[in-house]
């Protein structure tokens, strides 16, 4: 139970999320192909946060997710803050429906696919609202596909290799849930 999870276990989980999240940011920034038309790099941070939000909600506080998102946005060079907000919203959605996702891996995969598509779409809407230029839809669609594939790979890696199993929770409050 999340409420029953011991404080050291929660802190260890948070440290793991911070370390894996930072690693995901660094890998995402690695220079592989700088061409504009190249296949976009997947959002690995989303995969890590999604896995923790579903399986270790008590170790993935909103503040930590926002800080990781901000670090990624600021280092990356794109619109700062937007990625952090959408990542946090996605994490809260996954955390809220986590009981269903733990019971059904198919539902979890479906949610990951939907969020992989929705996150860039939300960026697109925000950029349009700010009168900022956006990349073509085809590039965003390719990015969504690679993010979904990466999220599944990260899930397999964390759950089966690093043994990050699920924990139950006591309530479904959106904010301040992680204690």
């Amino acid at each position: 139970m999340a409420g029953n999870a011991s404080r050291p276990a929660r802190l260890a989980g948070m440290a793991a999320l911070a370390a894996l999240g930072w690693l995901a940011i660094l890998i995402g920034l690695a220079p592989i192909d700088a061409r504009a038309a190249a296949w976009p790099a997947p959002d690995l941070l989303f995969g890590v946060v999604a896995c923790f939000a579903v399986r270790r909600p008590s170790s993935s506080p909103a503040a930590l997710i926002l800080v990781l998102g901000l670090a990624r946005d600021v280092l990356g060079g794109g619109p700062a803050g937007l990625g952090a907000l959408t990542l946090w919203a996605a994490a809260e959605y996954l955390r809220f429906h986590r009981d269903r996702f733990i019971r059904s891996p198919l539902a979890e995969a479906g949610a990951l696919a939907a969020l992989s598509l929705l996150l860039p779409f939300a960026h697109l809407v925000a950029m349009t609202a700010l009168f900022a230029p956006s990349p073509p839809l085809s590039v965003l669609a390719l990015g969504a596909i690679s993010t979904f594939a990466a999220a599944l790979a990260v899930r397999v890696l964390l759950v089966h290799l690093l043994r990050i199993g699920g924990e139950a929770v006591e309530n479904h409050r959106l904010i301040g849930r992680a204690r």
């Binding site: 690695a30 220079p31 700088a34 504009a36 280092l75 060079g77 794109g78 990625g83 952090a84």
Partner: protein, 316 residues
Amino acid sequence: MAAREREDIGAEFGRLLRRGLIVALVLLSLALLVLWRADSPRLERLRMSLADWATPSVEMTADPIGAVSDMAADFRDFTRVHERNRELRAEIQRLRAWRETAQQLERENAQLRALNNLRLGSRTGFVAGEVIADSGSPFAQSALLNIGADDGVIDGAAAVDGEGLVGRVVGVGRRASRVLLLTDFNSRVPVKVLPSGRRAILSGENSDSPRLSFLDALAGVAPGDQVVTTGDGGVFPPDLPVGRVAVVGEYGARVQVAADYERLEFVRILLYRPSTRIDTPGGLIAPRESPAEPGDAEGAAPGAPDAPLLGQAGAD
């Protein structure tokens, strides 16, 4: 009972603190978003502060990933080694012809510069750095380098690879700097098309072929024409190769960039000081010294007096 109450008050305080922190972070995210849209240089300074701090870990991660990526690329090259060999032989033949032409032009250039002793030749030095990160997002086209202000990099400087212009420096930290690629939406570079000499602005559009904006007429512009920098504004040196016109259509022209973005590993940051024309006695002021110029002297005019000499002339 009292202990229980104290515990409850403590828990409630902790919850309030956490919520306050979340609200503060959300507000910070929104503020950064507004700052990004309204005032990019300020945000750029913030980016570079974080980049300075993160450079060692970024480099540590980039190296093994780069090695794996190189292995994949090498394997691809190995499968077409014969074809590549033939291409390289042809390239050597072409380059030999160019070497002769370049030597001839260099001699002619030196003679012409020597004749005009009232004009200080522009001095272009450079500092080379390694690309340690790219933006990792389709919303921005930029690269992070492992050289910064400590190495003499200056804001706005041109970045080139072996083929041509890569972009310009938009953020400088102490140990890192960020280069905005020509393909980014925010990239605008004044260029001219050769041989027609028509001037235009090269505008990035997050595609591999940036557009030639503000081209006064398409007449005389054809696919294959060379595109070079004009040097207008004194930010970039003139005549840096940018690319070639790829398409000329009803809605304008697009340029195939010469820089090799697929394998962007090392770039040179040009430390350019534009030439100074002496029009009036008041113009006899020595140009400001830029910081360190590790690769200085490349392109210096053989007959041109250097800056300290001009400073003495001004004093006289």
